[in-house]
């Protein structure tokens, strides 16, 4: 269920539940995981996970660089 929200000053387009965690999507296609104990947002760096979340949000996946 997508909800507009502002967390830690970042405007979120929506959120999605996945494997027991809540992930947030901002306007720049960044995905965040909310770290409850520290009340902070953690930027998700796992590209595969990012694309999985984007897919759940019906957003376009991002490119992935192998090697480099």
């Amino acid at each position: 269920m997508l909800q507009r929200n502002v967390i830690n000053g970042i405007k979120m387009l929506g959120s999605v539940e996945f494997e027991g965690s809540t992930y947030y999507l901002d306007v720049n296609d960044n995905i965040y995981l909310y770290d409850k104990p520290n009340s902070r947002l953690a930027l998700v760096k796992d590209t595969v996970l990012i694309n999985k979340i984007l897919d759940m949000l019906e957003a376009k996946p991002i490119d992935i660089v192998f090697g480099g």
């Binding site: 991002i62 490119d63 992935i64 090697g67």
Partner: protein, 471 residues
């Protein structure tokens, strides 16, 4: 030694859901199980690898991206992988280095995709042609590298410098390379190298430094290897860090050793490289041909006996810069090596390579323009024998299917090129063609072929059957 026990993964339901044929399920399960055991991957990391494998991939292309790196770029929206050689092109690296980088970057695709494409390491192991050697060898190399460099082999699972590119930086593929580079450069066997590495970094250093008269040289060597591992994709030159000579040596070593890595894919290449020095210029035509064949196969997903036309060659995206024109030219040269100088010049014109000196290009790789009267060195009976024995067994001479197959191929060229064939040479006259068809043994074909001159042949596109215009 008893086989190592490890946790067995079973993702059959997932393979089924993604349409993977049931025959490869056990292989894939074995792949993930071995991977987890070999590199101490967590269940989550294994799951990530599995998810990656199910990315939708339809094509693999080669192109320069607007940056200065070499990498494999997966574009999920377009369902394709781009093997990016922008760094290679900018540095005007050698053709062999281009090819090696291509394989290296493709290795990154493999390590992340596991087995989604027909020509992946996994599939090569799975389809029986290479009898699974590739899979085992690659893991052995990774293990050697891991032990020596004390690297976290699952780095391709961890966060990289780019927050959106977790798979940047060091992956299995790099470590596989480094292991091979190190034991070869140290002049020790892989067994000796691995044995020393297993006893810890100090023992390794003490043992291996004896290979050098001055311990400091060994330290320099290790620093160089570390540098190489850090910049393996680009094989790049750090201003002020290494001299140009050092860089060239590393680039050459990289190319050579990576060629050795290919041995896990094809034993013929391996045996060839053992006879060559650590200089890509000494690669024989046969090795060069095999590299090119594999390269083209990888790029186009071409399977054995799939024809590859000049038209396709002209469409290659690498025909975009001078350096890449040379690449395309050299592929063409090798595939059309029965042509004379005039024909090569025509080819250059055809490919619009005005600024390439043919002789210099060929000399750079120790090649000379062969005449049609010269039998290419790879076209020996022994070499053909390898292919024929592989397909028809040791009694292939008495095998009717073998003879029929050879006749169907119509020329020696097809036998020599097996996987990739650009254009087919056939006698101009129907009389000569009929006579060739009537021959029953390879010796008879070879004998008759040697009586013909270049003027007696025309080229035929094996796919369209169209005859090429006069060259």
């Amino acid at each position: 030694m008893a086989p190592r026990k490890y946790k067995k993964y079973n993702f059959n339901s997932e393979y089924k859901a993604h349409g993977y044929p049931e025959s490869v399920w056990p292989l894939l399960n074995d792949y993930f199980s071995r991977d987890a055991a070999e590199f101490d991957l967590t269940d989550k990391e294994i799951k990530t690898k599995l998810d990656t494998m199910f990315m939708n991939l339809e094509t693999i292309e080669i192109d320069d991206q607007p940056d200065s790196s070499n990498n494999a770029l997966y574009k999920p929206n377009e369902k394709k992988i781009i093997l990016n050689f922008a760094g290679m092109s900018q540095r005007n690296e050698s053709y062999v280095a281009h090819l090696c980088t291509m394989f290296h970057e493709f290795g990154h695709v493999d390590e992340n995709f596991a087995a989604p494409t027909p020509n992946s390491f996994m599939h090569i192991g799975a389809n029986g042609r290479f009898k699974g050697v590739a899979f085992n060898e690659i893991h052995k190399e990774m293990r050697a590298a891991r032990l020596t460099m004390n690297m976290r082999l699952s780095a391709d699972m961890g966060p990289g410098a780019d927050p959106k590119c977790m798979m940047r930086h060091v992956g299995y593929n790099d470590l596989m390379f480094i292991g091979t580079m190190m034991h070869t450069a140290l002049g020790v066997s892989e067994r000796e190298f691995l044995s020393a590495a297993e006893k810890g970094p100090e023992y390794f250093r003490e043992t291996m430094s004896k290979k050098f008269s001055d311990p400091k040289t060994f330290d320099d060597f290790m620093a160089t290897i570390t540098f190489a591992s850090d910049s393996i994709h680009a094989i790049k030159y750090k201003e002020g860090t290494l001299s140009t000579t050092d860089y060239r040596n590393i680039a050459n070593l990289t190319a050579t050793i990576y060629g050795e890595c290919l041995s896990v894919m094809d034993a013929r290449i391996s045996s060839e490289l053992q006879r060559s020095e650590a200089d890509p210029k000494t690669f024989s035509e046969k090795t060069r041909y095999e590299l090119e064949r594999l390269a083209i196969n990888y790029k186009h997903g071409i399977t054995k006996n799939t024809p590859f036309s000049l038209e396709q060659l002209n469409e290659l995206p690498e025909v975009s810069t001078t350096n890449q024109k040379v690449l395309a030219f050299e592929i063409a040269v090798t595939n059309r090596r029965k042509l004379g100088k005039k024909e090569y010049e025509s080819l250059v014109e055809e490919l619009s390579i005005e600024d390439v000196n043919i002789d210099e290009t060929l000399n750079r790789y120790g090649l000379t323009l062969p005449s049609i009267a010269d039998k290419p060195d790879v076209d020996t009976s022994e070499y053909k024998k390898d292919f024929l024995e592989e397909d028809y067994g040791t009694d292939y001479w008495d095998n009717k299917d073998c003879i029929e197959s050879i006749k169907a191929m119509e020329t020696d060229e097809q036998i020599r090129h097996t996987g990739v064939k650009v254009l087919q040479f056939r006698p101009k006259s129907n009389t000569a063609m009929d006579k060739l068809n009537a021959l029953n043994t390879l010796d008879e074909v070879a004998s008759y072929d040697s009586q013909l001159s270049s003027q007696d042949f025309i080229e035929v596109d094996v796919k369209t059957k169209n005859e090429s215009p006069e060259l």
